[in-house]
Amino acid sequence: MGEENKVILHGMWASPFSKRVELALKFKGIPFEYVEENLKNKRPELLQLNPVHKEIPVLVHNGKPIAESLVILEYIDETWMNSPRLLPQDPYKRARVRFWTSFVQQQLIETLLTVFETDGETQEKGVRDMLEKLQVLEEGIKEFFPDGNPCIDSNNIGLLDLVFSSVFSHYEIQEEVLGIKIINIEKIPLVCSWLTALNQLTLVKESIPPHDKLAAIFKFVREDALKSSSA
């Protein structure tokens, strides 16, 4: 492949931010080279590609780097305009997708991190917040699935689907490691149907890392965080 239209994704196998970009590229059928980055020992090249945040994912297209997963996803949608379109055409509908994507990104992920990295009362409060916010999401996604039946396929999967899936498709492993139930079908039936629909897609299924590997890294992250907060 020449420099023309060459796409490289610098990512990390357990990162939801990296995963969502990978999924977008795969669903759109965009050929790309994947570079696994070591986040404990960052390579100089990564630091050069993303000097501001020094994080993955970074997408490099025609030699030009783009960082921040949501920025990358919008860039992908504007550059490769084939199906699936990650955002609708209508500006109002686009605003609704961006609003809820921002909700998942800023509200849910932050609370999930609290639940993962704390214990005791702080964690309990985190779990309550999480359940409350998932309830808000349950209400919010009704506008996307007006008949109460999420039908996601490789032609209509969008930005919000990718972002949500990257964080929650492997919720069972998260619940197992935490010993806490987060996704409760009685409380959030529509969110559950949505997750089920997403997890049926081959590309999504294949994107979830092996159970033991993911469980191990979640355990490690949690133990590490608890250790440093009690230090």
């Binding site: 504007e78 605003a95 808000v136």
Partner: protein, 225 residues
């Protein structure tokens, strides 16, 4: 033409982002001032998730979150474009807008700092953020948007006006010509842009308000300790 309404708050930089974008685009709108201690039924109906301003209502349909609103305005009224048309340049602009979101907590830490080592650390952290902004986002350009302001400048309007007032309230200067010459010049240039100059809160009211807000947050945080 469907009507446009903006629910805002006179002291909010987020509210002003939307005002500036609408004015630049020449969009006629009705402004509704919200009393944040007594939010209107309409606001709660239009933004049930966060119950916050700004909310833009276009043809009866509400949009919340200032950055989401800005993208909506850009897409709905494409005249006087506020984002580059090239996808890569657009991605860069969005990257810098997201940088503001990522660093909001650093700003907040400085805003509520009261003194001693904590304040010194908060000041240093914030200075570092501003240096990155000056060096890598602004560079030698007049505005983040180049010769004219764009959504990046609009997003950082909080620095040009609200932060300058915060420095006065706290009594510490961070954004100065000696440490941040280009960013300081940007502040001057930004505040001279007619749309900005003509649409900015009264500075006496602003200072008084910032003092009160800061006090409230500091007291609340001490309670939580």
């Amino acid at each position: 033409m469907a009507d446009v309404k903006l629910h805002g708050f006179w002291a909010s930089p987020f509210s002003y982002r939307v005002i500036w974008a609408l004015k630049i685009k020449g969009v006629d709108y009705e402004y509704i001032e919200e009393d944040l201690s007594n939010k209107s039924e309409l606001l709660l109906k239009y933004n049930p998730v966060y119950k916050k301003i700004p909310v833009l209502v276009h043809g009866g349909k509400p949009i919340a979150e200032s950055l989401v609103i800005l993208e909506y305005i850009e897409e709905t009224w494409p005249g006087n474009p506020l984002l580059p048309s090239d996808p890569y340049e657009k991605a860069m602009a969005r990257f810098w807008i997201q940088f503001a979101v990522a660093k909001a907590s650093v700003y907040r830490a400085f805003f509520v700092s009261t003194g001693g080592e904590d304040q010194e650390k908060a000041r240093k952290d914030w200075l570092e953020v501003l240096k990155i902004l000056e060096d890598q986002a602004l560079g030698d350009k007049k505005f983040f948007g180049g010769d004219t302001i764009n959504l990046v400048d609009i997003s950082y309007g909080v620095l040009a006006y609200w932060f300058k007032n915060t420095e006065e309230v706290i009594g510490i200067k961070v954004l100065e010509p000696t440490t941040l010459p280009r960013l300081s010049q940007w502040v001057q240039n930004f505040m001279q842009v007619p749309v900005i100059k003509e649409n900015i809160p009264d500075s006496h009211k602003m200072l008084a308000y910032l003092r009160i807000v800061r006090e409230k947050i500091i007291v609340a945080e001490q309670h939580n300790k």
